[in-house]
């Protein structure tokens, strides 16, 4: 019997159902899977950033023990295997399409970044495959390389692709340039900053892995892969690369240990092992090593920007002008072109009623790993630029930074609010999240704490960021008009079993988000089925009808809404069955949390009564309704959702060493309706950890020759628990107005709102040192350099 006690529905901080298996090490990740007769693949990767491949000699390697096959780019080209496709097409200012050079799965004639795969070795064991990979002789002629975003557009820069002159992928713009120029012409003050958004390596805890499997009898291919969206991989790899129909290709993404965007994309290795499995007629497993993932997982961010803000003499914003160079890396990854355009420039209004905005974005190719969406994807870059600019502008206009923000906020009565850069915000209350955050963080008492720190020889700073982001991507028609080559709806199936337990099939994919719990709570809340009797199935194209996957904080807003729609269909059908059983008219049957009732009577039927009748239709309106109780819904959102809020960071700098210690971090976010407060708190804390990582610690550094200097955890600073304070998380809810759940999404807010709060605090701590701006990450060496330069200037 379905009894829900204690309350497990919307708003309950239910412990995560999936954690039992994860904490006991019983998760089933791709590398835990082993197929009968499995072989192992090792990728031979380029040590050069840019070189021609003059000769590849695999003869000795092929003769080594256990080696089944070795393939190079020409082997795939000979079978007309396609390039790795890009899922988004941006158009230039003049309307022409972006440059989209071929991205072969295995290099053809040239390598374009360190880590570019050149050959795959398939052997009985991984060690044998590795031994053979070392025996392959590749003759390279190194070419000049370009690794930095700015260097890529300089005249005479080495050319990454012949098909992209000047290394330009696209030259795009948004907004009204003439209006922006007019606004600037009448401004009392124009404030300008130039800044770099540091390049990051996502570093999910589980490295990527893939198993290709081919059944020679049925002709079916199966790919097990570490993916955030198995249906998208099936579509891209099947249709564009390997030319396998969907009906013959199954993609399974089982437990996945973190993605943060880096597991959205279709990677070459997936196509290579799937194709090669058909060649060698054996399953092939490839598991990425950590040092390999540094040079083959898509990186994040990497913008160089100039931003100018025009103010009137009352401190009101008149306009914003932004110029950004964005690094695409050596090839276009699946979502890459849309990140610095429609996920970035469209957010430049932020939480402010900026009347005019003009932004131009140039995307460039470099001899580096492809860059694509990483937690927040474009929105952290926009928020950082804007919130740093707001602080600089407040300082230069002599205004209090909080009052300056408040003065320019979009007011609650202005929603729905149309920005000058395409988006229409549906709801928000920026004044309330600001006030709540100021109160919780003890903003008013900061100067006393600063004085106390100063007495101990420390520099204390406080920083604020007020932000909005666009997620829950996205209305298919809108993104289609903007260049997306896919729809962005989501699919949910609710299968009520005969005795009332429920299986949910969802196209969203959980890789740390806790979907098995949150989604079960949706079912418990609406259908009254206890979460223990609800199973969430995801990550398998053979089980789930279709889906677009999990990224852009879309799982609940889009995937959850699809489930809600499917539950509405279940309830509608259930009412008809209940009406029959209770001899009432359908219009008189009400449903609430598991109980069908004839309105105004004590006649009731439980959901289990109805499901049993549906599957054992002895007494059933069989002429009117089919047996069974299973419904599928596709939900295509009407708009993006717009979570927002306020983050405040308080930190202390040791001027002797330059070390920054974050003392307090307060986040008050409006993520719409909260389903599981504990999971939301964890999501925000995780996002803030990555935001603090970007602000203080992390940087992917290439040298001028294109070698990745920070290619391991010895040199790439991942945030550790000891680097982080106990992040205080609160929510202040305004409901999303256009999805049935009122939810907005919480997966990325932490990473979006936090970096400028941290950096504004760093600059505030250094306020006596004549510092206007500090670039991320604020490493000890960088901070000491500022302190030392100030000391030398004073001497």
């Amino acid at each position: 019997m379905n009894v829900v006690t204690p309350f497990e529905g919307i708003g309950a901080s239910l412990r995560r159902k999936e954690d039992y298996r994860f904490l006991l090490g019983r998760g089933q990740y791709v590398d835990d899977l082993n197929r009968p007769g499995q072989t192992h693949a090792v990728m031979l990767r380029s040590p050069h950033a840019h070189a021609t491949i003059d000769r590849i000699d695999t003869a000795a390697a092929k003769a080594m023990p256990g080696v089944k096959a070795i393939f190079v780019g020409e082997d795939m080209a000979a079978e007309s295997i396609g390039g790795i496709p890009c899922g988004w097409q941006i158009h230039n200012k003049d309307g022409s399409p972006m440059a989209e050079p071929m991205h072969p799965a295995l290099a053809l004639g040239k390598v374009r970044h360190v880590g570019d795969p050149v050959a795959v070795v398939i052997a009985e064991t991984k060690a044998q495959a590795r031994d053979a990979a070392e025996a392959i002789v590749v003759d390279y002629t190194p070419l000049p390389a370009v690794s930095s975003t700015e260097a890529a557009v300089k005249p005479g820069a080495p050319q990454v692709h012949e098909a992209a002159p000047g290394n330009l992928c696209y030259d795009w713009h948004i907004g009204d340039k003439a209006a922006q120029e007019a606004a600037f012409a009448r401004a009392a003050r124009v404030v300008k900053i130039e800044t770099t958004n540091n390049r990051l390596v996502p570093n999910a805890m589980e490295p990527r892995a893939a198993i290709g499997d081919f059944d020679s009898f049925s002709g079916d291919y199966t790919l097990y892969t570490t993916s955030q969206n198995p249906h998208v991989i099936r579509l891209l790899m099947g249709a564009f690369v390997l030319h396998i129909p969907e009906s013959k290709l199954r993609v399974v993404a089982p437990d996945v240990g973190g993605g943060f965007g880096s597991k959205i994309y279709h990677y070459a290795e997936e196509a290579i092992v799937t194709w090669a499995a058909g060649k060698v007629k054996r399953p092939i497993k490839w598991t990425c090593e950590r040092s390999e993932s540094f040079m083959s997982d898509a990186h994040g961010r990497d913008h160089v920007s100039t931003a100018e803000l025009a103010l009137d003499d009352q401190g009101k914003i008149l306009g914003l002008k932004v110029h950004t160079l964005a690094n695409m890396g050596a090839y276009l990854s699946t979502f890459a072109p849309c990140v610095p355009t429609y996920l970035y420039a469209t957010l430049l209004s932020g939480v402010y009623s900026t009347p005019v905005i003009y932004a131009e974005v140039k995307a460039v190719f470099t001899n580096t790993v492809p860059v694509d969406a990483y937690r927040g994807a474009g929105r952290p870059e926009a928020t950082y630029l804007l919130e740093r600019l707001m602080d600089v502008a407040a300082a230069e206009a002599g205004l209090d930074k909080v009052e300056f923000r408040r003065r320019n906020f979009i007011r609650p009565d202005q929603f729905p609010y149309q920005t000058p850069v395409a988006l229409q915000y549906d709801s928000g209350d920026y004044h309330s999240t600001l006030d709540a955050c100021l109160e919780t963080a003890g903003w008013a008492g900061f100067e006393a704490r600063r004085a106390e720190s100063k007495a101990r020889g420390k520099l204390r700073g406080i920083g604020i960021s007020t932000y909005v982001e666009a997620c829950g991507i996205a209305p298919s028609a809108v993104v289609g008009s903007l260049g997306a080559r896919a729809g962005l709806y989501e699919v949910g199936t609710i299968r009520v079993h005969p005795t009332g337990s429920v299986t949910v099939l969802t196209g969203a994919h959980s890789h740390g988000q806790g979907h098995e719990t949150t989604f079960a709570q949706l079912i418990a809340d609406k259908l009254g089925v206890p979460t223990a009797n609800v199973d969430i199935v995801h990550g398998d194209t053979a089980k789930v009808p279709f889906g677009m996957g999990t990224y852009g904080s879309r799982s609940l807003a889009v995937g959850g809404s699809a489930m809600d729609k499917a539950m509405d269909k279940i309830i509608a059908k259930g009412k008809r069955i209940a009406a029959h059983l209770m001899e009432a008219s359908v219009e008189d049957v009400e449903f609430e949390r598991g109980t069908f009732r004839v309105a105004g009577t004590d006649k009731t039927k439980t959901l289990t009564d109805i499901s049993l009748a549906a599957y054992v239709p002895h007494n059933y309106p069989i002429d009117e309704i089919e047996p069974g109780l299973e419904e599928t819904a596709f939900y295509d959102p009407k708009n993006f959702t717009y979570p927002g809020g306020c983050h405040i960071c308080e930190l202390e700098i040791d001027p002797e060493t330059g070390r920054v210690e974050v003392l307090n971090f307060t986040a008050v976010d409006d993520v719409g309706r909260v389903i599981n407060p504990m999971i939301v708190e964890g999501q925000v804390q995780g996002g803030v950890a990555q935001g603090i990582g970007q602000a203080l610690l992390e940087a992917a550094i290439y040298d001028a020759s294109g070698q990745l200097v920070s290619g391991s955890f010895m040199d790439y600073t991942m945030p550790r628990a000891g680097d982080l304070p106990d992040v205080g998380v609160a929510t202040h809810v305004t409901l999303c107005t256009h999805n049935p759940l009122g939810v907005k999404g919480c997966g990325e807010v932490g990473a979006i709102g936090s970096p400028p709060a941290v950096m504004n605090a760093v600059v505030d701590a250094l306020r006596d040192y004549g510092v206007r701006h500090v670039e991320m990450p604020a490493t000890p060496q960088k901070i000491w350099g500022i302190v030392n330069a100030h000391r030398l200037a004073a001497e």
């Binding site: 060690a127 590795r130 070392e134 040092s291 002797e656 060493t657 330059g658 070390r659 610690l697 550094i701 200097v709 920070s710 955890f713 010895m714 040199d715 790439y716 600073t717 991942m718 490493t779 000890p780 060496q781 000491w784 350099g785 030392n788």
Partner: protein
């Protein structure tokens, strides 16, 4: 990793015999450096000689005015040893900052000393404390033992068996960690010993751990943090990387020296 043979001798004599017979054999104690190198295929020994089964190499004991620490003594044992805490509390505290919990549960003092990683903690302590490194063949003063970056006076097949550490009047240690690796980027160990004041620096020198004689002179004249505050280190003798230039490290050495003196009390 490449294939290799594995030996687990029960005595130093047996271990030395295997190592002497094969110059491409490598001893392993905690394996905190060798194992990653093997996994990355940076090292291709014919055999690995596991020293962990040699009982005589384990343990801490006090012998008069010195501590004798067996080469196979793990960092966690040094960090929690009542003998070490009573005699040289800074050394116990230092051991508690090496790597992380997993590393401290595996890594050994002898392994760290024999590896002489320029960013490792122990070499600076042993140099400042005037320790003696005992091998299966001889005894060497720390100064004669640590000969440069990742190099020591050990001959091929020679094993560190114990470290003899004279107990100082007082000692202190401070380090600035590399933000990424958490190894020392500039660490300073100061000690008042029977042989005088000694200061040793790790993490920063371009040829490994070294003594900082100007600081020793300053502290001999006046044991106080202020005495070293104005002693500048020549950046030309230091290394630099993306986390710390030689100039920054030079500055950090002075700051850490001050803090080490404060730590010593």
């Amino acid at each position: 990793m490449y294939d290799f043979a594995y030996h687990k001798p029960a005595s130093v004599a047996d271990a030395v015999k295997i190592l002497a017979a094969d110059p491409d054999a490598r001893p392993i104690s905690g394996g905190m450096t060798l194992l990653p190198a093997l996994k990355l295929r940076l090292n291709k020994p014919t055999s690995v000689v596991d020293l962990s089964g040699i009982a005589e190499l384990h343990g801490v004991k006090r012998e008069g005015d010195k501590l004798v620490i067996g080469a196979l003594t793990r960092h966690v044992e040094v960090a929690t040893s009542a003998e070490v805490k009573a005699a040289i509390p800074t050394l116990a505290a230092m051991a508690g900052t090496i790597g992380d919990t997993q590393v401290r549960n595996r890594g050994t003092m002898g392994g760290s000393v024999a590896n002489n990683d320029p960013s490792a903690d122990y070499p600076a302590a042993l140099l400042a404390l005037g320790a003696t490194i005992q091998t299966d063949k001889r005894k060497l003063a720390a100064e004669d033992f640590f000969t440069g970056m990742f190099t020591t006076a050990l001959e091929v097949g020679e094993l560190v068996t114990a470290i003899h550490i004279p107990i100082p009047t007082k000692a202190g240690y401070a380090k600035m960690r590399n933000p990424a690796s958490r190894y020392s980027m500039a660490g300073v160990f100061v000690a008042q010993t029977a042989a005088g004041v000694r200061v040793a620096v790790n993490g920063a020198g371009n040829n490994g751990v070294f003594r900082e004689k100007a600081m020793e002179a300053a502290l001999t004249a006046n044991w106080s943090p202020d005495a070293v505050a104005d002693v500048k280190v020549d950046p030309g003798l230091l290394n630099g990387d993306i986390h710390g230039s030689a100039e920054y490290r030079a500055h950090l050495v002075t700051v850490m020296a001050k803090r080490a003196v404060i730590d010593a009390g």
